[in-house]
Symmetry: C2
Subunit: 219 residues, 2 copies
């Protein structure tokens, strides 16, 4: 069988929040991790590491930390659905919340939880002096995260990019023995999908997201 096309992989990479607890073959996990290594990073320094958590004794506390944060976050999210939302938009938000509830309750059962770590000392943070939140460090981490997600898509594995655990980073670092000066950027549960898994996306069209030459000018 021919390899899944690059566009096809990107066009059908969904956030899959219902994952089977069944284990993932080692060679498959290796391919997924290797795809992350190919990503570009500032100065080709690759200032990230993955801790691929499979041990139940570690997934337990990580899953508990995640679900606690999800319960708080989902309350805010639910309260934030505008009263003016269309029935379709409301139903979509409710579906996402239900899938999120499932993920929270089963986070610890994911066969693999990939924790992305980074070392800010190995990054040139070019936006450090701007008077707004910094994002540039993420340019040397989330490129690798996206590759890992796309590799999961190729392999037929469900996955979803989560960052809620950053709220309790000190606890996560303790559970996984992550030393200074390494911090956490994402937690990605990976497993075979319970349902259909990947498929069509709901996204804004190019015309809403890209401009030609100057802000607001149609592409």
């Amino acid at each position: 069988m021919a390899e899944l096309g690059a566009y096809e992989a990107m066009r059908t990479l969904r956030a899959v929040r219902r994952l089977r607890p069944n284990p993932i073959p080692d060679d498959m996990l290796h391919r997924v991790l290797e795809a992350a290594t190919w990503a570009p990073t500032g100065g080709n320094v690759q200032p990230w590491r993955i801790v691929a958590v499979k041990d139940r004794a570690l997934k337990g506390p990580i899953g508990k930390l995640y679900n606690d944060r999800w319960i708080n976050y989902s309350k805010v999210y639910r309260a934030g659905i505008p009263a003016t939302a269309s029935p379709e938009a409301r139903a979509r938000a409710e579906r996402t919340l239900k899938a999120g509830d499932y993920l929270g309750e089963h986070f610890h059962e994911s066969p693999v939880i990939a924790i992305f770590c980074f070392n800010p000392k190995n990054m040139a943070i070019t936006d450090a002096k701007q008077d707004r939140v910094s994002v540039v460090g993420g340019g040397s981490v989330y490129t690798a995260v996206e590759n890992l997600l796309l590799a999961c898509r190729v392999e037929g594995l469900g996955c979803v990019l989560t960052t809620l655990l950053c709220e309790c980073e000190p606890e996560v670092r303790k559970v996984l023995s992550i030393p200074d000066p390494w911090y956490t950027a994402a937690a990605i549960p990976i497993g075979y999908p319970v349902g259909r898994g990947h498929g069509p996306l709901i996204r804004k069209p190019v015309e809403q997201l890209a401009y030609l030459d100057s802000w607001g000018k149609p592409i």
Copy 2:
């Protein structure tokens, strides 16, 4: 011809710094921009925009700003090559610097410069309270950046992720009329490669970048 495979695209996505000034077909640029729209973002908010700069009158000042920063940065980079570096490592660093010099001198001639913008008000910055530089906002931008780079690879277009222009973000925002509260995360020159373009990568192996269960434990 079958679509380029997802793994093949990731495995051969190089930083291509020597680009031809020849224009890119509009439909090709549209496909590249559309690939960015498919990326996952926090809450599916897609808090990013691209300004695709083609107008010479705008590329001129953007290119000048970039090259000024590159000249400064490359001095630091050159001085930072360790005296103990192997002849191979030194030669590789010198090749990257020369390619960077070329990019700096020709940045304004790139047929398209994709400026990625983001709105921090539409992001849940879950690491905002941690006592280190924030990166999580980047999780809703650089996933789209990676998709755009991979799409360039599919199309046979050279490209490279740069963030140096974030150092002079106020000037860039002025040139491109980027309003509050939108800021800049990356500038990606895109064009047909002068030389061979994409191809094999130099990256650390999985065994150096991924651990099993706990920090430092071999995968």
